[in-house]
């Protein structure tokens, strides 16, 4: 079974999110390990980009902080390499099309495989354009995680037919979207932190805790790892 699918078998798992390099490379490594130790099932590393159109203000700012401190896409692989020395937790890079295109698809996907990246979320490579990278995903065994929204409607069946790992469900009407997905597939479903009140947690496999963790990083205090650990552990225990 796909490593991502496997990690999201139980209901209501925690998916951690950090902006890669926010606070430095070592800080990111520590934060991911803290997330893992606290019981997160998977971690998404947001790749800093100048124009993160799909992100809210907190993550936009984190992206700018990382870029301003000189962090580049290449540093994401350094982070993943370091984490892999100590943890097998599934790691996902969330990025945009342009930094990957400029890195060079072959080089980027090769690096993903070598460092131990399991999957990619690229909001501006939707189903219609996935041919752009699908060959590389296959060749280097990296999963493209598709998004599905309440407006995806009839296209859900097509998207699900190409999807592996998990589906990221976003939008205004998560509950009925998940229902539509469930009619055609058992694939695990993850949703965003801000959408968790829209749906009973029994119907989702993972909740992406992004903004709260990035807000902890924003404060840039000494015991960030402990704060992240405590925040996640509390959620895992109360599950």
């Amino acid at each position: 079974m796909n490593k991502i699918t496997n990690a999201l078998q139980s209901k209501n798992s925690i998916v951690g999110y950090i902006t890669g390099g926010d606070g430095g490379i070592q800080a990111s490594v520590n934060h991911i390990l803290a997330l893992s130790e606290a019981g997160a099932s998977m971690v998404i590393i947001g790749v800093p980009f100048s124009d993160p159109v799909a992100e809210g203000p907190v993550i936009q700012k984190a992206s700018m902080r990382a870029l301003d401190s000189g962090i580049t896409t290449k540093d994401m692989f350094v982070i993943v390499n370091e984490v892999r020395k100590q943890s097998k937790i599934p790691l996902i890079l969330q990025t945009y099309a342009n930094p990957v295109y400029i890195y060079g698809y072959d080089a980027f996907f090769k690096q993903c495989q070598e460092s131990g990246v399991d999957g990619l979320i690229i909001p501006d490579i939707p189903f219609e354009e996935c041919d752009e990278i699908s060959l590389y995903c296959k060749q280097y065994d990296v999963t493209q995680i598709f998004m599905v929204s309440s407006s995806s409607d009839k296209r859900i069946t097509d998207i699900v037919s190409k999807a592996s790992g998990c589906l990221y469900v976003v939008g205004h009407d998560i509950s009925s979207t998940i229902q539509q997905v469930r009619e055609v597939s058992e694939i695990p479903v993850i949703i965003g932190y801000n959408d968790q009140n829209q749906v009973s947690s029994n119907h989702v496999n993972g909740i992406v805790i992004d903004t709260p963790i990035v807000e902890i990083c924003e404060k840039h205090e000494k015991d960030m790892d402990k704060q992240i650990f405590a925040y996640i552990q509390k959620r895992v225990v109360s599950k």
Partner: protein, 395 residues
């Protein structure tokens, strides 16, 4: 599956949330494109409201002064709201209304597109919200008030570089969060399909008129058609009906700011910017070596965009159109030149095309003629040009 390509450029690189709406828009546009009723309604608006057709004016004093080709100016500056932007906006807002939308949103750089959108929204009774980079709201304060006067709400965008590209980002975000009643009136031949095609179609009236007018006046086609280019809507509008006429040179003039050898420019193609994927399309983009989109600069807020529309990228690839850099200094000189010699104050954007025409006309003979698109009027730029020349003038 790959819709809306110009060679390898274009496409639909947008978040899933917007995809369904984009498909609906594409289908709806394909329908009205061939619908006589819609086209007639649009033509009436263009003629009766915007003042089309715009004049093709022979700039005799300018031609004589330069001693080269006969120069014709396409007077898009005489349109209602003072630029070519109204052509696209009337089309899109009418389309939005037919789609059952009650609200339109748009990005704007210099404010021209925002003013045009607010105007069309007022005309057709639609709610209107405009997103404008905070920097630009300061540079173009008068246009902000103008939009508000027309009933629009103006949002100052404070994310990123606080200019045009960030205004596009913010309008995209707003659209993704509210599509049911809202249409995004994109202002240029950029973004995901169908926008580059649709906006081109709405702007192509410029070259359609140019061609008929020059044939009537000269009995032959021009040697060249020259237009300024940011995203490229007035340029593609000026080029479109001449693309098949291979003897007509098509020249796009980019904002080279302080020069293409500096970091302060917005000359995407003429600075050899690499290909990329951004704002829904594959095209050429000013960016750093890691793919971060560059904070571009031009004296002209309307040319201050880090990319070009995908059709221009393709015309460049196949060698059909040429793109040249024009610096701030050259554009400001042209701004003064045309004002003094013809009594026409061109927009600082259009001044980039004038600047190249001044150089280019002199290389041709008196038997030749060229057309320059004056995409907008320069009233909005007067204070900024005065300040550029060291005069402390504020609106």
């Amino acid at each position: 599956m790959k819709e809306g390509r110009f060679g390898e450029h274009g496409g639909q690189y947008i978040p899933e949330v917007l995809m369904d709406e984009i498909h609906k828009l594409t289908d709806f546009y394909e329908k009205v494109k061939h619908d006589d009723m819609f086209q007639q309604e649009l033509t009436t608006l263009l003629n009766e409201y915007a003042g089309r057709p715009s004049l093709l004016y022979e700039a005799k004093r300018m031609s004589e002064d330069l001693g080269g080709a006969k120069i014709y100016l396409k007077r898009e500056d005489l349109n209602h709201t003072g630029s070519h932007k109204i052509n696209n906006v009337l089309g899109q807002v009418l389309l939005a209304k037919k789609m059952g939308k009650t609200r339109v949103i748009a990005e704007t750089g210099a404010g021209q597109h925002g003013v045009a959108t607010a105007t069309a929204a007022a005309l057709m009774g639609m709610e209107c919200e405009i997103f404008m980079g905070e920097e630009d709201t300061i540079r173009q304060a008068l246009n902000v008030y103008r939009m508000e006067l027309l009933g629009a709400k103006v949002h100052a965008v404070t994310s990123g570089t606080k200019t045009l590209k960030d205004a596009v980002n913010e309008t995209m975000r707003e659209w993704a969060s509210r599509m049911e009643d809202t249409h995004y009136v994109l202002g240029s031949v950029m973004g995901p399909h169908p926008f580059p095609m649709m906006v081109r179609d709405f702007q192509a009236i410029i070259s359609k008129e140019m061609k008929a007018q020059i044939l009537e006046k000269e009995g032959k086609l021009p040697k060249a058609v020259i237009a300024c280019i940011g995203g490229g809507s007035n340029a593609i509008g000026s080029f479109y009906h001449f693309i098949e006429d291979e003897d007509v040179k098509l020249i796009g003039c980019e904002g080279a700011g302080k020069g293409v050898n500096t970091k302060l420019h917005a000359a995407t193609v003429s600075s050899n910017a690499p290909k990329g994927i951004f704002h829904g399309m594959k095209s050429y983009f000013c960016q750093d070596e890691t793919g971060q989109i560059a904070p571009v600069y031009s004296i002209s807020a309307g040319l201050d965009y880090p990319g070009v529309g995908p059709e221009h990228a393709h015309l460049h690839d196949i060698g059909r159109a040429t793109y040249v850099p024009i610096t701030d200094d050259e554009a400001v000189d042209a701004f003064h030149y045309l004002s003094k010699i013809e009594g026409i104050i061109p927009a600082i954007e259009s001044s980039h095309a004038i600047a190249y025409a001044i150089k280019y006309a002199q290389t041709l003979s008196i038997e030749d003629c060229i057309i320059v698109n004056v995409s907008g009027r320069g009233d909005k730029d007067v204070a900024a040009i005065a300040r550029y020349r060291g005069i402390d003038l504020h609106e």
